[in-house]
Subunit: 264 residues, 2 copies
């Protein structure tokens, strides 16, 4: 799968692309079927909400779960990401962000690459995120909010937010956010399960609390160029990976054949 000229131009100018119906209902069902078992585990990779025992983020699921091992090698996300990043890539970070109904806390405005640079010493912002919605994302279950064009400014100054999130995050100050939004506005991509959403590693984003009765589970795969590997190993391996082997694409039906192959 290749992105066309308009998609590439949109990503370049705006910092993101939304891909409706990137995965089918059957493929989403395969991915969702794994969730209860993954989220029931209490392991270091599973970080809970600050105010409850509900899993907020499950890291590194692709390292121990076959369905998600395949997802990060799926040609519908791996190939466009290679195209956007201009070369072979590996997974720098993988997370399932739950934003559970009634429990999902705020994520303050931040840039992912800000953390990758400061904490992991990733040389250049040649890294990006690929989100896949596993639940419907609507107006009320705290959609990711992005600031279009904010990726153009590179790494912005930031401080550590320790009061509102359960996970240390380099967050931006309100004056800068006001400026960025005056220029680019706010966009909150919404859509049914299976929607894909690519965004640049320096694109500023955040999300509010989820007060609705609807879970909002999103998979985030952060891809990095193999020649842009991190140089500091301060954070746990399951948060900032150290396996820089180039990923090879699997067949397009690889999510649908998991069960068959397991049965063989």
């Amino acid at each position: 799968m290749r992105l066309d000229k308009d998609q590439l131009a949109h990503f370049d100018e705006q910092g993101y692309i939304v891909m409706p119906e990137l995965f089918t209902a059957d493929e989403v069902a395969v991915m969702k079927a794994e969730i209860p078992e993954i989220f029931a585990q209490r392991r270091p990779e599973n970080v809970c909400e600050q105010t409850s025992d509900v899993v907020r983020t499950a890291f590194a699921t692709h390292t121990y779960n076959e369905v998600y091992r395949r997802l990060v090698r799926h040609p519908r996300i791996l190939e466009p990401a290679e195209q956007l990043l201009g070369g072979k890539i590996y997974v720098h970070q993988f997370k399932l962000n739950a934003k559970a109904a009634f429990n999902g806390d705020v994520w303050q405005w931040h840039q992912d690459y800000g953390t990758w640079k400061r904490d992991d010493d990733m040389p250049e912002p040649r890294a990006m995120n690929l989100a896949v919605f596993l639940d419907e994302v609507n107006e009320f279950n705290a959609p990711l909010m992005i600031i279009p064009k904010s990726h153009n400014l590179g790494v912005l100054e930031a401080g550590h937010d320790l009061t509102t999130t359960s996970y240390p995050l380099w967050t931006l100050d309100n004056g800068k956010i006001t400026e960025l939004i005056a220029d680019g506005g706010i966009v909150a991509p919404k859509g049914p399960p299976g929607t894909g959403f690519f965004f640049h590693g320096t694109l500023v984003h955040g999300s509010t609390a989820n007060l609705s009765p609807w879970d909002r589970l999103i998979v985030y795969v952060s891809y990095n160029n193999c020649d842009n590997a991190i140089r500091r190993f301060k954070r746990p391996e399951y948060i900032a990976h150290r396996d820089f082997t180039p990923l090879e694409a699997m067949p397009d039906d690889c999510l649908l054949t998991v069960a068959d192959e397991a049965a063989e």
Copy 2:
């Protein structure tokens, strides 16, 4: 000003009515001009956010500010409220809810009448809220979310939420909210400054955190029937008023003539 048959039926069935352009830009400007001075005051009526020194709610402004003294007597809100409540009314509670940019915390799902009954011993749910937007309310500055039809069930069971709000509130449990939303959905009225929004005292509502750079200031006037006055005076007078004198409507231009009359 009188509500028509369709508006009365909508309020009866759904528990709310949205009134676009209820106040003009000039009238909104008169109301907004008072805000900096009101919010700069540190007085018991002004309650701050849990995590900052930003005013979250300014109570009872109509008792000491001439513009807001007139607002609660404005025929465009007083007369429809008399019509909906079926008789002469007084102000049970008045608040300016700031939901300031970057600072506005969550309000959990609740019914206002739940508090009026439990804390103030208001005999019957013959009381309602009238909201006037003083800022634009949009998708991103934490609009009030309401559950249509939820007013039909009367007072629901509730417990005190003390963790997420800076002001004690009787909030509903997640199972009940899920049921109510399955039936009525969620609606979040939006619109420019001057939009009016009437809702029943037992309508379930809440709002999420405001991460946007846009303030979201709303005036809420809670009217109660004069023959339904509260019987317990546990909460401060500025939160649950004890002056049950029927309000008399002022002229339709009363907000625009404040300055002239002050100058005389």
